[in-house]
Amino acid sequence: MDELQYFREIVTTDRRERELAGYHGRVVGCYCNFVPEELLLACGAVPVRLCSGDAAAERAAEAILPRDLCAVAKSAAGRVQRGDGLCGRADLLILPTPCDAKKKLGPVLGQFKPVHVLDLPPRKESPSAQAFWKTQIRDLVPVIERLTGTPLTRAALRQAMDLINRRHRVFRRFLALRAADPPRITGQDALFVTQASFTDDVGRWTTQLEALCERLEQSPPPAPAVRPVRLLLTGAPLIWPNHKLIELAEADGARVVIDEFCSGTQRVYQPVELRETSLPALLDAVAEKCLLPTTCPCFVDGTDRLNRVQELATTHRVDGVVYHCLRLCALFEMEAQAMQQTLRARGLPMLSVSTDFSAEDRGQLQTRVEAFVEMLRG
């Protein structure tokens, strides 16, 4: 399907790199989901999310980082060190500090590129944490204004928020197609769609996804011989090219009908909610959107992810949950047990797998995932 091919091309080829090579404005590399894209867009910068699942970049980073460090942090550093693709093109990197690895990554990336660190509070619910975070976002404004030479205006921010909210609306439409019974699209394809939004032009991505939704809505629904087992995927992010877990999960006819990854659904899930329309109020609303909906285990309280997974499991009528632990990311692994207990109490089976970016454990992983699907089929 051509409409799908577009998203794969954005993720897997150097198309965006070529497009932005000839672009005269500023490109800002972002990590995690905490960076306010609206602010960057409003000042005329192009935000690109540079998080990576590249095993080769990870290994390369072992020259400058400890070996026993989470693969996401190492891989991000390896790509910047090598100047890969958009990492080479970026004029500034914005690095939030969710975990220990990211807290210490700033000076490492700083050897190669200018870095602005966004400090995250340890909790997100308290008024003082939110006040702190809003200050972090306000302090980012002059940094971006200086970079692009474009002062932030209320109108421009409003326009950028509308653009991002339009992206959010079409994404919700897309999620409904993915959640259909039987699903209109595989979880793997859906992950390409969301991860294309890492680097793609926001307006073009939205238009392309509208076209894909249109196509899927008009095509006859698939009629599989047996009802596919419906899975929910949560835990540490799968980031291209490390898609092995979702490939294996769907290999046997099961469908990942929803994911809860920061590299997937979380990225485009929440709209900005507006109460007032002054510039400070708009900025605060953007700040809230970057902080509150995230379910990153870096925060002290993990109940929101427990609740989100249960809610998604119910609304998407899933048969089981697959929990992805990334080796050396203790945060997700530590929350796995509470998740297992919570889901077990609801009679929902969960498989927890622990892996990394390498391909060497594909066989073991396949056995676990396949056995889980066999178990759910009964």
Binding site: P349, S354, Q364, T367, R368, E370, A371, E374, M375, G378
Partner: protein, 262 residues
């Protein structure tokens, strides 16, 4: 007369069994896997059908399981070893609630609902600690036959504590224990206890239950089985040929699937 084959293509050995259409295990064969699992499974299958005086064409179904299940030529389906061990264990011991399989390169705990349906399972991560491969290496370091390790462990005065379960580190530890003239039986008992602790932690992840069945080549090690029983406070069922349980389960699934389709 219908015949059904189950082939368990494991990392160390490849087991093939033949059952008739009443589900009775008629013939079996275990061969070493070697470097090419495809050839090993082919050899095991040929030998087992040869014993029955059959041709491959006489088989109604060939169900492959184990790590190399997708490299078994001629298979009619492939099913994971979790499902197959559960099926085989329940056929042999219908009351089974917990299957503990110690295979060549991994261990698993499988929790069953009444009736034999799998409700949870846990496997060790990519590490050979406490598996068949582990005991192979340790038997070599102790300069004894693998088959003698279990009985020797049962004669031990005490179990030596081992500081590391990594196959590589444990091997050098065993070598130095032997050099220090620690009785081999005590070392063997220490190895069995340490491996049993790994199995216990897997069992605890899925929930310990009174009716335990041990499967896989590891269940041939009486010292290991006794250590597991002691740690879990149970008396385990051990099949006469535990290394065939996965292949037997696979063959049964082939038979049931055929009946279901007919």
């Amino acid at each position: 007369m219908g015949w059904y084959a189950g082939i368990d293509s494991g990392s160390l050995t490849c087991a093939a069994v033949l059952i008739n259409d009443r589900g009775a295990l008629c013939h079996s064969e275990v061969v070493l896997t070697g470097a090419r699992s495809r050839l090993a499974s082919e050899r095991a299958l040929l030998q087992v059908i040869g014993k029955a005086g059959l041709n491959a064409a006489d088989l109604t179904a060939i169900v492959a399981t184990g790590y190399g299940r997708e490299r078994v030529d001629g298979r009619t389906s492939a099913v994971t070893e979790i499902t197959c061990h559960a099926r085989g264990a329940v056929a042999l011991f219908p009351q089974t609630q917990l299957v503990l399989d110690v295979g060549g390169q991994d261990c698993k705990a499988i929790r069953l609902a009444p009736g034999g349906k799998v409700i949870d399972f846990a496997m060790n991560d990519k590490c050979a600690a406490g598996t068949g491969r582990f005991f192979e290496v340790m038997a070599r370091a102790l300069e004894i036959d693998l088959d003698d390790l279990g009985p020797l462990a049962l004669e031990a005065q005490r179990a030596v504590g081992l500081s590391n379960m990594c196959t590589v580190f444990a091997e050098s530890e065993v070598v130095s224990l032997v050099a220090r003239e620690e009785p081999v039986a005590n070392i063997a008992a220490g190895l069995c206890s340490a491996a049993a602790e790994r199995v216990r932690s897997l069992a605890q992840r899925v929930g310990v239950a009174p009716e335990v069945t041990c499967t896989g080549g590891g269940a041939l090690n009486s010292g290991l089985v006794r250590a597991i029983e002691r740690l879990l406070g149970v008396t385990a069922n051990v099949p006469a040929e535990p290394q065939l349980v996965g292949a037997y389960g696979a063959a049964l699934l082939g038979l049931e699937n055929h009946r279901g389709a007919a």
